[in-house]
Point group: C2
């Protein structure tokens, strides 16, 4: 229990003294990049264990080593979707000795500058609203970047990781499914946002929906631009009252879909008899609503695995890659009572 003294102050020198060797030796033992006589190595390892020593990661990073920190930029930390994903990534990162720093997608220009402080070995961007030119800037600066393809990133060039989470195909499948059930008047409910951050056509969900509707020559309606769920609900009710009654609703995420569903129910329509409803993300909400909600499920743990996989590759061998790394993942449509 002599480790009772401030552990933060134990340094290379302490270990060197404790083990009776040079600091150099300690370094090489820790980094394992030079042969060290067996006995010395043992002494050093014992000293490290005895003093509970951990190298100061800031100092290591200063010397060009990794900081072992990865930044994850999200635009909706609150959502259950990101919670799960972060949780999975955290688990994998921990095994690789990495920490995940989480950050909302702040819109001011200074944000990118702050990221440059050499603190992060890599950055995962899981935000639909992070400006493209800033992403390009980070990539050009040589920082390992992994993008979750929430929107169209085809204009980004250079070496980076791209994870296509299947949003586009998943959204098309929703339309196909509704169509096969005889649904022809489809309604898309966009997310609500107090900061005016609504979907445009480079959003994969909206694009997938629209494209597949076009294939069937349907004329879908899109409700967007709402700031709150209450506003969205009111808009849907207005729509129904005005005589436009969809027979299929696709919500950009589960809560949105449920807001739509409840609005329909309030207006006296039956789900699914009159109107089918499908959500996105397959959160726990789906199990507890009535009727239970069908929803598109994204493979969280697959995504997490690929995020760390690509990130590690990029951090370790970025220069050896000539173009971006890509992976295409699948989604699954989980059917419940609402269709």
């Amino acid at each position: 229990m002599e480790s009772k003294k401030d552990l933060r102050t134990i340094t290379r020198k302490d270990i060197a003294i404790e083990a009776g060797v040079t600091e150099t030796i300690v370094s090489y033992v820790i980094n394992g990049n030079r042969y060290v006589k067996e006995e010395k190595r043992r002494k050093v390892e014992e000293a490290i264990a005895r003093l509970n020593y951990r190298p100061n990661s800031m100092a290591r990073a200063l010397k060009g080593k990794k900081s072992n920190h990865i930044l994850f930029i999200a635009d909706d930390i609150k959502g259950e979707y990101f919670g799960k994903l972060i949780s999975e990534i955290d688990g994998l990162a921990y095994k690789e000795d990495y920490f995940i720093t989480l950050c909302a997608d702040h819109q001011d220009e200074d944000f990118v500058n702050r990221i440059y402080s050499k603190f992060f070995d890599g950055i995962v961007i899981g935000s639909a609203s992070f400006p493209l030119h800033n992403i390009q800037r980070l990539i050009d600066a040589g920082i390992p970047i992994v993008l979750l393809e929430i929107r169209d990133y085809s204009s980004i060039h250079g070496v980076y990781g791209l994870i296509n989470t299947g949003l586009y195909e998943g959204s098309r499948r929703v339309v196909r499914t509704l169509y096969e059930r005889g649904r022809r008047k489809l309604l898309f409910l966009d997310r609500v946002s107090t900061s005016g951050n609504w979907s445009s056509m480079d959003d994969w969900r909206l694009k997938g929906f629209t494209d597949q509707c076009n294939v069937y020559r349907l004329e879908p309606v899109v409700v967007s631009g709402c700031r709150t769920e209450d506003e969205l609900s009111a808009k849907v009710i207005d729509l129904l009252a005005s005589g436009y009654v969809p027979d299929g609703i696709f919500g950009r995420n589960d809560p949105i879909a449920l807001v739509g569903m409840q609005a329909c129910q309030k207006m006296g329509f039956n789900v699914p008899d009159d109107i089918s409803v499908i959500g996105f993300d397959n959160t726990r909400l789906c199990r507890f609503s009535s009727p239970t909600l069908s929803s598109v499920e994204i493979e969280q743990s697959e995504i997490a695995r690929w995020v760390m996989d690509m990130m590690m590759s990029l951090i370790d061998n970025r220069s050896s890659f000539e173009k971006r790394l890509e992976v295409y993942l699948d989604t699954k449509l989980v059917m419940r009572e609402s269709v």
Copy 2:
């Protein structure tokens, strides 16, 4: 656009050259801790703006300055509750130029060692399962710590921040409310956990529930030890089938409460006529279930505000405090159809 070159390589020296002054001057301008002649100061500031310079935070931290990183340890990153909280904290932290690193509560002893690497200016512990002796170790090591009082921390001594989130009082109020509605046979549903991480009596929700039941001389039942929601559901159904029918159910969190509610409904009981159900956290689930779920709401943004408040105080003036900082927050019982 000369900033097109790798921004990460711009350093004090570059600024000094660009501005035609010494590195020392640059440093003092940046830190604002020495008078610098107006003209030089201006030149330095211009150079910084022109080159888009950001001090290397690792180097600063090495010299004893802050790292501007705070670690948040949570035991349930997935939950909507933490998502909201983290999101609020992130917003406040960003304004103070801080990053929040998020980490699950890993149980191995090495975890604490990793935290020691001098990387974090402070640590927020929002986990019910982080070992007490490790918390004490971190506090003794002089690291600013803020605890979210999810369980009893009265044995922890030294200087730290303690945020009582009102779980205990909130849980008692649930019991009072149920009692006032004539409910006498109360059932507490504990969280599910695959890692055997169930509540004991130092968990404030369970303790609040139990204590208040004792006040009324009720004999409550507690269902705990389930690994999955399905297992919990089965257990409740067994209980009902065996003849024990509660008239009030308190779920440790909303999904748990809903699992209980659905089990009751499946067995033919009416909520709220036969059985009242109350959850905890007031997540979105409450609005979408039927009947809608009453739930205890914790003041997320108040907590976030206090977390950052205390953390900043501790980081800046830890030594000036003689004992722990404390704050008691209130909860609110949001009544809906389920009671």
